[in-house]
Amino acid sequence: MSLTDLTVAEAGAKLRDGEASSVDLLDSILDRASMTEAQVHAYLTIDREGAHEAAGKADADLADGIDRGPLHGIPIALKDNMCTRGVETTASSQILAGYVPPYDATVVQKLRDAGAVIVGKTNLDEFAMGSSTENSAYGATFNPWDIGRIPGGSSGGSAAVVAAGSAFAALGSDTGGSIRQPASLTGVVGLKPTYGTVSRYGLIAFASSLDQIGPLAKSVEDAALILEAIWGHDPLDATSFSGAYPDPGAGLDRGVGGLRIGVVEELAGEGYEEAVETGVASMVSQLSDAGAEIVEVSLPTFEIALSAYYLIAPAEASANLARFDGIRYGHRAEGATTEELMARTRGEGFGPEVIRRILLGTYALSAGYYDAFYGQAQKVRAAIQEDFARAYESVDVLVSPTSPTVAFEVGARTEDPLAMYLSDICTIPSNLSGHPGISIPIGVDGQGLPIGFQVMAPALGEEVLFQAAAEVERLAAFSDKPELAEVAS
């Protein structure tokens, strides 16, 4: 077994047994990346120097008896919308080409404090807007399971490095499913924690009320270990939760005996691939066999969640992305006046999907349209929260497919934004409610492409979420790995 196949927990054990050093782990990752990157193109930046320095320090610290916990010495990748001091951060946009932040995002600082080794920055849909990682100014990322297919998005780069073994784990961000959907399409675990539990300070905002950082990992346990390292109250984020946090690892071995599991009726039927539906149904019956009580639950507002999302997220984005004007940083176009300079900078610097969403959001907030669009969408959001609350009166967790389909072919949906937007139909409700959701791989379809299973829980319900997810992982016993050709770059 190669080092790159290890989970975070296993690699940590090897480090402490003295069987491998952090530098060994890093070198194995970098070797693997030199083979996989030519096919997958998941990294935008690999910080060899910084990573080697951090790995060396992790080894020295461990030798001195300083152990910073489960992530100590573990090479981890970051989605390129998280600011890293001294390392280029682009959000996959031309407008931020060459931009080097002067500060670390809170999650980056927390990873460093936990002894993690930051390998590099992964590709995404520009400003996290997309579901395929094709909307990147620096080229698409491909799915390690089939490089003719997309890895999902927008955290497609982070999903792909974990699937391909070119990082032990990665952080992504999830605004409408951007962690869970690519995790599903690449056969890894992806978690969106409760809104407000992981600081957004230093995350380049897409839609502030929906964005949440979370881990992509090889196992449910790894996801819990990373979550514990990155979450917690942050005085730099006014929306950060300051109360008592749950213990995500507490119920990992508890099983699902007596747990009430709700199957969401609305997340099935037309548009769902048969293999996905069969896989999910089979997992539900295994959960039932394992002692869970299965309840069919209807959340009617889920039918209109997508429409509300595509008003709220672009509206917030239209303001969040206004700062990219060429005045203080990033790309700058020439212009005879300040207005012309700004307009040209933005016209040149943003890709078509970003421009589409800025226009959509600007329109939704405009005088005379606000009530019909943005105002209405906020009402739908409140109704979705009520629907969830009602459902959680009778169940502990909700389950559904993570994505209606397995990974689709490169280019299949680029010309049809609506088809692309439907990729997130199962994941968007949790963003609108602020609740946690996790995707766990449960098998492959007839073409050998991974299928993901989503578990959702109420706000701060991470303990029961992980309890159920761990059982799903045990029942699925999914151990397939993508087979990439041995091509050196």
């Binding site: 905002a205 502030s208 730099l236 984020d237 006014a238 917030e316 303001a319 700062r323 005088a367």
Partner: protein, 482 residues
């Protein structure tokens, strides 16, 4: 036709908190450009705002001072517009739920007091500062523009009056009263010339007796109370002549030109600007509990209007009460010390607003460094009353006290200003003068009684002004009649 002016005033007050509204950068004026900046106030990708508690307490204090309601829950909004010195290209401001609403300010012009409604006071952040280089500093022809973000994110309170103001004089009185309250609260430098308090006026006219509002014009760039008054006067006259000339008023923003004494059109507002306000998702609603509001209320100082009222209750005329209420805090403290010592309020107030203020001005002295105390002033007034010093000598005694020579009695003695009220010494002086002026004595006895004034003057001269003139007069009359 006779016209009525309808005026509303918007005031921006820059708070002097230690740190900015949404980050930890220092609020400091006059520092080298771009030295008090961080990812948040520069609008760097990923940076987030965190509200400043002291700034929120300051706006609560402002609202309470203006008799406003403090909202139990208040929300920040984003106001979207592109401008080079607005780093995020949106301003964090407030929209439909401001921190304070529905207050008022009583304003007196020519003895008539009117209540001006205050619609709201809300919290927002200031922008950076643009300096246009080349072509006289105007934006359109500038060769380049320098941006300084030290001011970016400085907390601003915007106070919006209702359209209750009816004249230029009232506009000025409102602005002055508002400024003095803000200064008194200590939440801002409130200096017009430095722009830490800025006034914009919304002006329209309508025929007398009509209730509906006319087309309003916003006038900006008044940097003194005098220019505010003149700009409002000018604009009212301009609007009347436009309408009487048969033309339509257009809704626009006009710029007051201090040199030319006129307003110029800046931009025409085609309906309302669309700022696409929406709730700031990076911030949670502010919750102002009753307990917190009361805590802030307890810190409010006595405000000028309340002070005026209590001075009048002490028996001061309204003019004197007005002047004293606007005097520096140190003088007002002396006032209270002296009257609680038993001194007559009116005499104390006259000394403080007259001689003491004049001395401070002459010497460019800071009242905080003054060696005069309330008991000193009480003592000085008592010395005048009991004839120890004459009222003219008392001014010299005060000067000595202010110059640190000691208490009034010590100064009167060391400067040799104590009145001679010893009958024997005065008699001696009187007899001397009578002996030297036989002609005057002759005239008096011949019926020319007014010559006594000349003789009193001679005695005062002989005693170097220290004699008590009343006693001199009395003794002289006795001797001449006798």
């Amino acid at each position: 036709m006779s016209w009525e002016a309808v005026i509303g005033i918007e005031v921006h007050v820059e708070l002097t908190t230690d740190s900015k509204m949404f980050c930890g950068c220092a609020v400091s004026f006059g520092d080298p450009p771009n030295t008090n900046i961080c990812p948040t106030c520069l609008g760097l990708p990923g940076a987030l705002p965190v509200p400043n508690r002291v700034a929120i307490e300051s706006i609560m204090a402002v609202g309470l001072a203006f008799n406003c309601e403090v909202s139990p829950r208040s929300v920040f909004h984003r106001k979207n517009y592109f401008y080079a010195d607005l780093p995020k290209n949106y301003q964090i401001s407030q929209f439909d739920i401001p921190v304070c609403h529905d207050g008022y300010l009583d304003v007196t012009v020519d003895g008539e007091t009117r209540r001006i409604g205050i619609e709201r006071a809300h919290m927002e952040e200031d922008t950076g500062k643009s300096t246009h280089l080349g072509d006289g500093g105007r934006i359109h022809a500038a060769e380049s523009t320098l941006l300084d973000f030290n001011r970016s994110g400085v907390p601003l309170v915007e106070i919006v009056s209702r359209p209750d103001i009816r004249s230029a004089a009232e506009s000025r009185a409102y602005a002055q009263e508002l400024r003095s309250i803000v200064a008194e609260l200590g939440v801002s430098d409130a200096r017009l010339e430095e722009g830490s308090i800025r006034f914009d006026a919304n002006i329209s006219i309508r025929p007398e007796g009509v209730e509906t509002l006319g087309t309003k014009v916003e006038v900006k760039n008044m940097n003194s109370f005098r220019s505010l008054e003149r700009a409002v006067d000018y604009e009212i006259a301009r609007q009347i002549s436009v309408v009487e000339g048969g033309a339509e008023m257009i809704q626009e923003t006009r710029h007051w030109d201090e040199e030319a004494d006129v307003t110029h059109s800046m931009r025409t507002k085609e309906g309302l600007s669309d700022y696409r306000f929406f709730t700031e998702p990076d911030l949670v609603p502010m919750v102002m509990s009753d307990g917190w509001i009361e805590e802030v209320r307890a810190t409010l100082p006595e405000l000028p209007a309340a002070r005026r009222a209590s001075y009048e209750a002490h028996g001061l005329e309204s003019d004197l009460a007005e002047v004293l209420s606007a005097a520096p805090k140190e003088l007002r403290n002396i006032y209270y010390e002296a009257i609680s010592d038993g001194a007559a309020p009116k005499a104390v107030a006259n000394w403080l607003t007259g001689e003491v203020t004049a001395w401070l001005r002459r010497n460019e002295a800071d009242p905080a460094d003054m060696s005069l105390t309330g008991p000193h002033l009480g003592e000085l007034i008592a010395m005048v009353e009991d004839g120890t010093v004459s009222s003219s000598a008392a001014k010299d005694v005060l000067q000595g006290v202010l110059e640190g020579e000691g208490n009034p009695r010590t100064v009167a003695e060391s400067r040799d200003l104590v009145q001679i009220s010893d009958t024997g010494a005065l008699e001696e002086a009187v007899l001397g003068v009578l002996g030297e002026n036989p002609d005057a004595v002759e005239s008096y006895r011949g019926g020319e009684k007014k010559v006594v004034g000349f003789l009193v003057g001679q005695v005062m001269r002989a005693t170097q002004g220290k004699a008590d003139p009343k006693m001199v007069n009395q003794i002289l009359t006795e001797k001449l009649e006798g």
